[in-house]
């Protein structure tokens, strides 16, 4: 029943949306195809394996009206002002409800090598060039919510980084859900393409302004050029009452390297669909995650690394601390295609449950079609180590502080992997603040 309600709402939204688009838009075809895929695949229901532990459709049906269309809003907001005060030394872009904020984005301060457009602008400037990138971002393993985003996104953001660019500062994208507007849903859409031999650190920082509950279904596609290194940090540490599905897809060329980091400890519900397609030899992907839901929060990380070519490497370390009545979900899929000989793929997922009511669902999934590969995976679920706790207490350290020291040590294995030192410091202090809220 829930699937019918949500599906009907999405149908209404799509019809309104597509009628507003000029027919000549390059991505109108893509939107129609995505809508067809949605009709074919249907929304997740209770028996859908990928959403077995995250009943997203019933939550959407109960809380949100999905026949809403995203509305552009670029009003002054004290919350956004405050947020930008705490920014790192970075180039930054502000998106409000998925739409580029001209008010808050200092576009003239960007380095000249950078090219930033709305999809509209990029298409008008050079339609073939833009569509070539847009169309490259497909896979047979995409999640249904990517299709919903494609069908319904209002304005996309396209960032192009040419060959041989090494940025002196990270690029920070503030994705803000402004809940003071009437709309209840938004569909941010970002496409980033890098050339050869470049190096870039990207911070994808998610925020909520206002207290209302809102649903965000975002897609970020990243094309990583040959010999390029990209470090990307997704911060879901100030989400407020957000419900978020975050679909991130990488398409990696030869000798490229991706370090993807996901830090999640805020928001009502978070589902991350991380999808890395290693499409050429000698490319490497590292995935790090730290998730710490508390109260009734629900944080779900579904990751998929698709080794398509030989001599590729992936490494994955996700750690979870689950407190209160919260739920964590981890599903790590490693897919090694028949051509992808000499693949190295490693995965680990470690969890600490802090209460009897906390839940973790963890599932490694290896599908290996090549015969000369090295793959391993391991998952652990435990509690704080009592012997360690007693040792610290026996040295005069109060129980609460001793617990925090052990949890910080547990999390540090992930946080210390952050290459940007100011960000590492920021995350440590944010994590400490989060710990202080735990019992």
């Amino acid at each position: 029943m829930h699937t019918t309600i949500v599906f009907t709402q999405l149908q209404e939204a799509f019809l309104k949306h597509i009628n507003n688009l000029p027919a000549n838009h390059g991505w109108q075809k893509a939107k129609k195809e995505a809508y067809d895929a949605l009709q074919q695949l249907g929304l997740p229901h209770v028996k859908t394996e990928a959403y077995r532990n995250t009943p997203i459709t019933s939550i959407l049906a109960e809380k949100f009206n999905l026949n809403d269309l995203p509305v552009a809003s670029d009003q002054p907001s004290p919350e956004i002002d405050a947020l930008l005060q705490q920014t790192f030394d970075s180039y930054y872009i502000v998106l409000v409800n998925g739409v580029l904020s001209k008010r808050y984005t200092p576009i003239n301060l960007m380095p000249p090598s950078f090219q930033i457009y709305t999809f509209e602008e990029a298409y008008t400037k050079e339609s073939d060039w833009f569509m070539q990138h847009f169309n490259r971002c497909t896979s047979d393993k995409l999640d249904i919510f990517t299709f919903i985003n494609t069908a319904l996104f209002r304005e996309g953001l396209f960032i192009y980084i040419p060959d041989n660019v090494v940025l002196d500062k990270p690029l920070c994208i503030y994705n803000i859900t402004d809940t003071t507007t009437q709309q209840s849903v938004s569909y941010p859409r970002i496409l980033i393409a890098t050339g050869k031999n470049s190096r870039l650190s990207l911070i994808n920082s998610w925020h909520t302004a206002g207290k209302q509950e809102r649903f965000t279904n975002a897609v970020t596609d990243i094309i990583v050029g040959p010999y390029t290194q990209l470090d990307c940090y997704t911060l879901q540490t100030q989400l407020g009452n957000a419900y978020q599905i975050n679909n991130m897809h990488y398409y990696q060329a030869e000798h490229s390297m991706v370090n993807n980091y996901t830090f999640s400890w805020d928001g009502m519900l978070v589902r991350n669909n991380l999808h890395i397609a290693i499409q050429a030899p000698h490319a490497e992907a590292n995935m790090y995650g730290l998730y710490c839901p508390n109260n009734t929060q629900h944080i779900d990380n579904h990751t998929l690394v698709d080794h398509q070519q030989p001599h590729t490497t992936s490494n994955e370390l996700y750690k979870g601390i689950i407190a209160g009545n919260a739920t964590g979900v981890f599903n790590g899929r490693i897919y090694v295609q028949a051509e992808a000989q000499k693949t190295n793929a490693f995965q680990a997922n470690n969890n600490i449950l802090l209460s009897d009511q906390a839940t973790i669902h963890t599932k490694p999934q290896l599908e290996i079609w090549a015969d000369d590969v090295k793959c391993s995976h391991g998952a652990t679920i435990g509690q704080l180590n009592e012997a360690q706790l007693f040792y610290l207490q026996a040295r005069g350290i109060p129980e609460k502080l001793a617990k925090h020291m052990l949890l910080e040590a547990f999390a540090d294995e992930v946080i210390s992997k952050v290459n940007l030192l100011p960000l590492q410091k920021h995350l440590k202090s944010e994590f400490e603040k989060h710990l202080a809220q735990l019992a």
């Binding site: 009592e386 207490q393 026996a394 040295r395 005069g396 109060p398 129980e399």
Partner: protein
Amino acid sequence: MLIINNLHASIEGQEILKGINLTVQAGEVHAIMGPNGSGKSTLASILAGKPGYTVTAGSVDFNGQDLLSLAPEERAAAGLFLAFQYPVEIPGVSNTNFLKTAVNQIRKHRGQEPLDAVEFLKILKEKAALVNMDKELLHRTLNEGFSGGEKKRNEILQMAMLAPSLSILDETDSGLDIDALKTVASGVNQLKTPDNATIIITHYQRLLDFIVPDFVHVLYKGKIVKSGSKELAKELEAKGYDWLKEATV
């Protein structure tokens, strides 16, 4: 300083300590010896406040306080220190940070100002020399990958930093070669003052050659069956424990 009165304790319903009586005064060194399974380590654990044990009868008075009602960290702040038989490895917590946190938490508990980094490092350097502690070990994570000897020296370093009034050394000699044993013993001896006391728990007389006890007690089946001077330890070394076992039957 420490008065243990008729202490009975059990773990998972099984009685391990069956009426321990022991009094330790400032300035004294007591050795508690006994065969495996006699309850030596249980006694040490209960004094330090390790969870899992049930005290079924008796009391422990530590400098006028009811020791058994205190949390482990409060016992540490009150001046009790347990050198662990098996020091725990804690990956991700640096040895130096751990020591600094411990020292300052205890100072805080006693109403003293925390040490700043400079003062702390000065004292740390001084105390590390006492147990021949390699500087590099101070920067490593706590006990992780330390050898048996390094872990025990680290215990004595912690003891030196926290300056307890009562130290309980639980099988500190186990797993040590003779050189490490001498280093550890000399560290303990240098920390000895007329105001503090030490309880040494050990199987063997060997450690007592280096740390000379004022009193030796033999624990057997959860009771102190014999007490004496340091000569008792020599007698035990020569005759084993069997003659005492027969005597108690």
